[in-house]
Symmetry: D2
Subunit: 343 residues, 4 copies
């Protein structure tokens, strides 16, 4: 069945699998100390224009969020995030499981506003009872957000400023970063992110890899014993080469950017397909996730031919659904979608 | 350089990589609900002669140990393990990080003795102050152990009996299970393990896979919300297919057993190579890890040509080292080793 | 200086101190197994008309909330609470520190509405992605609330019904329960609470004791190993008699109720003092905490003569402050307050 | 019944109760910011000859151990302790509950030997796999130990030296410190302890108080947010005055030392009573806990007249039992004991 259900329905870009085959029997030390990881780290430092970056490869997004947040926070601190942030809603309480509160802020199409951070922190420290409360210890944002939206460079600079003012590390969840960098109207580059965030991760799982996220600590701020913390969580891959080979391939000859551009081209055509047929969008997303308002009768009919995600009920007769394209979406997929819509 | 450093220095068996390529663009739902995982679960149930088994695929051993133990224990309980058990020594405190004490027992060449479990439990409940102590809540064993040794069927039956008596789930860490099933003199089969253990895992990472462990709950005892617990720990792979395809391949046409047998054949030759040259062994290991006593001067010379692991200092002039063979060790590797020893 | 700062500024009711002296040298076993604890438990069972209740004495409110919640929740579950609930705001993340998320609901003058619980749970289980989310595992309410307000019997019955429907234990934080039972217009009795809640606690610290809260499990639902869980948290008092003697005294000859009635009489006069002088109240509180709106110039002047708590800024020239009376507030204190206001 | 069961069977020294009565209605701010706590802190600083000490009052020993250890360790570190240490055995896993492993060392009559710490640390950092292991992050000792034994000044200096060498804070559990300071042959003073330990606590619960332990951070090393950490654990007493008044009394006119001396005088007579009648001791304890070897038939007879603690079975016909005296033991109690033994 035709699938726009998510951006992780297929395997990996073919070059990755080919490279895994080529390197398969080369004996390498474990736990990320292999030469492929080292090469990938060098290429990512270069792509980020951040030669001093510490880079660690992990397997998935929730794991990465929980590890980064719990290793950078002091034990009594919480993490500020949009109420719609992935860590607030869809990580099964992984942050709380490591002992930390997610301090929620209102979202603006999925984004955190610098002014809201400022207000939260100002009020917090004015409160006489604040020693009985959970102090903010870092700021979590996702880019693209859970709604597919993007921070502008100006918005990111404002967040960075307020974070510096209150000495809060700024952490960007880049599970879909490839689609953000290539997003429609995007003005934020990898070097911008490395300059403005204290730590971020480059998502592989949703952008062409079988699995894998590359955490980038941009200021020599990787905790000294990070490997031990990763092991302690059960997140240290014995065959770190699996992650090294994948990221080395993604950051060779611009493959990561190319996969992002391809997905955004597919997203543009998807928007055009729906828009030209009079469908409404829940919000304007410049990236690979599109939120479309469907009449419930139409939704039921479409479901027989194509997979997509339920997002939320809009009213008694309309539903917001998500169509996701990805690095592996083809023109033929979109041709099929058109045919289904016109049937 | 020639490497006997560990059993995770190479990638995956070629059939696994080929199968990943073949299935690569087939769209599948995420998080382990794909058809490859389902097929792999069926094949494993069959191999275990345990049709009612619940099977969950995870990425690595420490992750698996921590998840199984923390989801089966009550919050105040501890886990009994040999003082040499992997969870006692080399998991960076992952069990304690989830709030549980590892209650250590003396080891017998790496193994836990049923009589020691019985004595521990009996004394525990006789102690007037036991409500101020950590009660045993399950028993952890590894098979093969960290010393490469194996439980006999009789030993496993004795453990199972004492566990039943004290209502303790028996959990087997099978990170190297393939090498245990094929071990020299082994009399324990997969169906035996499924019959005698409450939960165990079949190691993939060290036996031919890129990554992956298959947890088998043998008594309908997988916690109801296990998927949520896995997600909460950041251990849920979005592309569960990566694990499904690998285990489906390993359990097709007996590949898993075949890889085990190959490694044991290599181990026999390795033993013969060392023994015939007068080297002493620290203990008799029937599996793929061999512990050899080297004079320190010889150790230094060998190190220039071949990688192996330091185990422990035996005395001021001798060291115990570990040579590990695996599914990917070749006869040429052993020829080279002979040449080096004879040089 | 005159103090209406809180309801824990003085020591204990004199009868409690006298009884501590009388019983001081009587040797008793530790950890709550003394005869005073046993006697107190019997008297509380009787006062609650709940002969099967399990009762455990703890030292303070946050400790009690964290212990009750973490011992009744499954590890992946969260606790529903008003966004203004004490566990949501002023317990320094104690719930998250034990691994659980506080799932916040809108508050209605500090109270949780049964309809909000129903809606939350219904939507939760309708969500396709709910296995990646934190499921509600119990409902926390405070009575009186942090705003001094009270549940009516009808409201409590409605909450109890929806909790039963979704199999959620209903937990009442009674840090100020004495003031709630005697509250103006209160129609909820101790037996009502025991009948409608699965677990609640009777606050001692704020109602006449030096320290101490009596947790009442009303349905034979005290976790089997609760004492071990209390010890594990470092909350088990060696000299449990300190708590036993205090609660035994509070539940002898109706002292606990009497202290509540006294405080409410003082609260009525406090209200009258402010109201008759034209001061406005932020909300109508029927209990010992009163929330008064002060012009900032008046606030500054009053501060020189009397202690009270800042609550929140209302607008640029007005502030909400809290005046708390208690079991130890005297008519003379209120005479002095009148004099200060009229100076 | 005559009781030598423990040192917490009675209430508090009468002066403490009198002082609680005298100060009872004096309004004071909460959470340890009252004037009694401040006064007690000053007196303790003086008694320790440590003017820069940070002092925090807590309620009980396990709570104190867990808070101090979890607030000084980094999250991946463990605490070194004797295998017989209270945190290793009788705190229901409180240390593990906060995520940390207790790394056990052999005990020498309950004591940790500096040479064992040195060896552990040296071997740890020599191990190639140590990044997969739990590194030692502090050293825990108890003084008196669980066997009533005491460190000599020389032993404490040796421990302090090795701790400095490996940058490990040295933490002394002084639950029974009063009995240690006055112990037979003791050569360690409060100022010695303050000079040699990074943090220690002065036990109140077992030495004349209703409850309470005074934690002394000797090097300006109290964590900046310690109050918030205490609140987060539910260990912050609203009426901190209860602890302040008690310690202020204990450290006025040498009461704490006096209680210690009294108990040791009682211990000497207890030893004499048993020794002169030919009873054997399990070990030589210079403090208030005495470990006596009883024939089981005698044990059964004594049990009818006097309470004491079972310690361990020595052989099939003998048992080690503990008799504890305390600040409240009287000469009459010992007269009665003699009568019972001679009956």
């Amino acid at each position: 069945m035709l699938s726009f259900e998510s951006d992780y329905t297929t395997g990996a870009h073919e070059q990755i699998l080919r490279r895994l085959l080529e390197t398969n029997l080369d004996p390498q030390p474990g736990y990320g100390s292999d030469s492929y990881c080292e090469s990938a780290r060098q290429k990512i430092r270069q792509a980020c224009a951040c030669p001093e970056a510490d880079i660690f490869f992990l397997t998935g997004g929730t794991q990465t969020n929980a590890l980064v947040i719990s290793s950078l926070l002091q034990q009594h601190e919480g993490v500020l995030a949009a109420e719609t942030g992935h860590i607030s809603t869809h990580e099964a309480g992984a942050i709380e499981a490591s002992g930390h509160k997610v301090l929620t802020l209102p979202h603006h199409s999925g984004k955190v506003d610098a002014a809201d951070v400022e207000q939260f922190c100002t009020r917090f420290y004015q409160d006489e009872t604040c020693s009985h409360m959970v102090p903010p210890g870092m700021v979590y944002i996702s880019h693209p957000t859970e709604y597919g939206t993007l921070y502008s460079k100006a918005e990111l600079e404002a967040l960075s400023r307020v974070c510096k003012k209150f000495e809060l590390p700024l952490f960007m969840d880049g599970a879909r970063l490839g689609y953000g960098l290539a997003g429609m109207g995007a003005d934020v580059t990898l070097p911008d992110i490395a300059a403005l965030c204290d730590v971020f991760y480059i998502g592989g799982t949703k952008v062409g890899a079988l699995c894998g996220e590359a955490v980038v600590f941009t200021r020599g701020n990787m905790p000294k014993h990070f490997l031990t913390l990763v092991k302690r969580r059960g997140a240290l891959l014995a065959k770190g080469r699996l992650l090294g080979v994948q990221f080395d391939t993604l950051f060779t000859d611009g493959l990561y950017e190319q996969l992002g551009r391809h997905a955004i081209a597919m997203a543009k055509r998807l928007i055009e397909i729906f828009r030209s047929r009079g469908y409404r969008f829940y919000l304007e997303s410049p990236t690979n996730q599109q939120f479309i308002i469907l009449e419930n009768t139409i939704l039921e009919r479409l479901r027989e031919y194509v997979r997509f995600s339920f997002w939320e009920a809009l009213d008694s007769s309309h539903t917001v659904v998500r169509f996701a394209v990805s690095w592996s979406t083809t023109s033929q997929d979109l041709d099929q979608l058109e045919a289904i819509l016109d049937a």
